[in-house]
Subunit: 236 residues, 2 copies
DNA sequence: TACGTTCTCCCCATTTTGGGGGAGTTGCGC
DNA sequence: GCGCAACTCCCCCAAAATGGGGAGAACGTA
């Protein structure tokens, strides 16, 4: 697989639009020797998905907001490394029902989902799934987990690149003081405490908060802090 | 390098404490054929660093808060892929002064920094640097960028694993309504609007906000929203 | 040097949050 | 069936944040 993986990476890196990437992803089932592949990215309001699942299932999943109960998504959200489906807790009632529906829709019983995070709160899951035994799947994941991680990384890099090139630029830049102010507020201080901490008057602090709010097109402080965090402008 | 890379990955994966990883990282200069290596992770208050730089330089860097003006850090924060130092904008006065100091401290003039993001707002930079010509460095990065990405990924995964095993677990779980409330507030709505949107009374909404605040040990709404975002509990 | 951005200071009326306390229904797991 | 957690509703008042407007000094860049 090493050789073919390299070809795929070359191919993805050379893509010039998001559609090419999608097509490449869908064509990977042969190369990766799995039944299903899915790549799903959430990027501050924007969303992109491409998978070999049936449309029925996708509609059902989105329509019912299944990402809320999908243990795979939950796990991917909170862990760094790949999520092996059979290592998750499927004991909950809703989780079990969800898995049942997924099986009926043709989703494999075994799967590996790789969480990937980008700047500005971007989050993506690259998933391969298949009908397989626990042992068979274990040997597959043991062998290819690292390759899949790399592939997911490359795909996500290209997808982000094309996304930012095409779209919604205008990233505001906060001044140091503005960032300070939002950072302290995000840390739970109120205005008086923050001003005290920065050794400036509370009024001055307000000016920073207001200008930051303006730059971030935020309605209030909470909104500004949320956006600043998502845009990677302040470290909390 | 492929073979050796594999050995390193094995070695890192088998580490049982953070010190072993640090030692492994420092020992990588030979294998990766570079002068300096640094791994620096920020994880919600916690911080871990390990590098081959001189202590003087590290103290100077931290003491002066250089991460604020360091173009490498800035770039790493906002982009997904590796940051090649010589592709950055060094024209600013402070950036130029910073680079001058770094050079004097023995940091290489060429470098590649790989940003990595984990759950709960974790952010790390894995950097290799060296004194080299632009061409020489280009051929190095062209050849090994992907390997370095993978290595950074593996190191970070193990570091996070050991960190979470040893430390500060107790991850609160928000109820769906609590997450809804914080999500809307993070989106810029006030309590009245959010309650309206969720078709519940404003008072009910307050109950959710307060219980979320309690679970998150947050001082106020802004703090709760910031923490929820960093902990990956709400998607903004 | 001139321009722009950043940093710093201040009042007052209005809106939004926070604190405290109480209570009934529903749904899931054991 | 019991218990627990989540969901829903309500009042009053104190504290905090927001909006609107004005202005001078310091810094770095062009």
């Amino acid at each position: 697989m090493q050789k073919r993986l390299h070809d795929i990476i070359e191919h993805v890196s050379g893509a010039s639009n998001i559609g090419e990437i999608g097509a490449t992803i869908l064509g990977l089932t042969d190369v990766l020797d799995v039944e299903h592949i899915a790549y799903h990215s959430v990027n501050g309001g924007g969303e992109y998905a491409s998978s070999t699942y049936k449309d029925d299932w996708i509609d059902c999943y989105l329509g019912n907001g299944y990402s809320r109960i999908d243990p795979v998504v939950q796990a991917g959200f909170t862990q760094f490394g790949p999520v092996n489906w059979n290592e998750l807790d499927w004991s909950g009632k809703s989780a079990r029902a969800f898995m049942g529906e997924a099986q009926s829709a043709g989703v494999g019983n075994q799967g590996l989902s790789i969480p990937i995070r980008g700047p500005r709160g971007q989050f993506a899951l690259f998933t391969v799934s298949q009908r397989d035994s626990i042992e068979g799947w274990k040997s597959y994941t043991d062998n290819f987990a690292l390759d899949l991680v790399m592939l997911a990384h490359v795909i996500n890099q290209k997808a982000l690149e094309l996304d930012t090139v095409q779209g919604r630029g205008e990233i505001p830049r906060l001044s140091p003081r503005e960032a300070d102010a939002l950072t302290l507020l995000a840390g739970g201080m109120n205005r008086a405490q923050s001003a005290d901490y920065l050794r400036i008057s509370e009024h001055t602090l307000r000016v920073y908060i207001e200008s930051a709010r303006f730059k971030l097109k935020a309605n209030n402080t909470t909104h500004a802090v949320a956006r600043a965090i998502c845009l990677g402008m302040i470290a909390v």
